[in-house]
Symmetry: C2
Subunit: 210 residues, 2 copies
């Protein structure tokens, strides 16, 4: 496997994985970089470049084996295993993630959801019961937790992340609109929904006229 | 204002806007590129480069005026106005967005939510009543709709987007895990939640050891 790979390439990998999954379902065995590019709105040379970053997997003139490439990209992404997720915050976003089964289907299993609100603690969300934030330390000590989903208000997100990282959590999927400062060794993925809307607003204002 | 601005710069603008809003709330009048960079985990020269893309707004040795820069970036993003949003799909994500008031607070107002499910049509989500998808054409004809939120299953997202664009909708905030093909003149922002989780998984696997 290659050394440094740019963030832009890594962010495209899940798209490759998704398209290859669809191709597998359609029964495709082989695909050329041209065909894959047309599907993904990328050029054939972009496709070849991206895949070369990870050591090839194709043969000149034969294209790529769909199942092999899908499997290899899955392994590179680390999604060939189960990840257990704990959600902090049983508000709109926390509930939506807990209720969704699309993450579960790809190996990201929500195993617990916590809140501080006495009105929410003890209520059911799908198969889960909302637990008391006061018990989160014990829960983490007793259970395997790979990822913490931060679905808390912006003003407490940093404190919650800090607390959880002191309990050993090293991966955060953050929905709060803040730039978290995390200890060395932690990894982070931000979903700043509102900022996405603002980028959409920019695109609306700056699109080429029809 | 400058001509072509890269997507990477545009995607950073909402972060600038958020930090400048916070600074304004804290009562800051002026900020240097060094100070702003430290807050945002960017270098001072990156900050100056980004802001120069849009024609400056700073004075050598004085830094930036916080309220002016915030206002200018808001204007560039087009968030100095109200956007009305229509949600298609009253599932987990559609409900979470309809129930949230953080979008509303920054001028993105959800004005209607539609679904095809007779069990959902007529039910209340916050201040809204879920409407019948069969009535969406009439609704769009009679009301100002700036943005359509696609919170529908992947297998129908393309068809729904096509239908709505034929009714004149030109901006889509898409939560379905598909690469939509939209007519010329349409703009799109994707939120592929599951793909973000996969990138997080990659980062977990490839982080430098503590």
């Amino acid at each position: 496997m290659a050394g440094y790979v740019s963030d832009a390439v890594i962010r495209r990998l899940p798209g490759y994985y998704r398209h290859l999954q669809e191709l597998e379902r359609e029964g495709a065995q082989q695909i050329s970089s041209q065909e894959l590019g047309a599907r993904m709105n990328l050029t054939a040379s972009q496709i070849r470049q991206d895949i070369n970053c990870f050591g090839g997997f194709g043969r000149q003139g034969y294209g790529y084996s769909v199942p092999e490439l899908r499997e290899n990209i899955g392994r590179i992404l680390g999604i060939d295993r189960i990840h257990s997720m704990l959600i902090v915050g049983a508000g709109n976003i926390g509930r939506a993630i807990a209720n969704s089964n699309s993450f579960e289907a790809s190996g990201f299993q929500t195993t617990a959801i916590f809140d501080v609100d006495p009105q929410k603690i003890g209520t059911r969300i799908g198969d889960l019961t909302v637990m008391d934030m006061a018990d989160i330390h014990d829960y983490i000590a007793d259970n395997k937790v790979d990822i913490c989903v931060l679905a808390v208000p912006a003003n407490i997100a940093q404190a919650v992340a800090q607390e959880l990282s002191s309990y050993g959590i090293e991966a955060f999927w953050n929905f709060a609109p803040v730039d978290l400062k995390l200890p060395e060794g932690c990894v982070l993925m931000n979903v700043h929904l509102e900022e996405g809307l603002q980028v959409l607003s920019y695109r609306m204002l700056n699109k080429r006229p029809r």
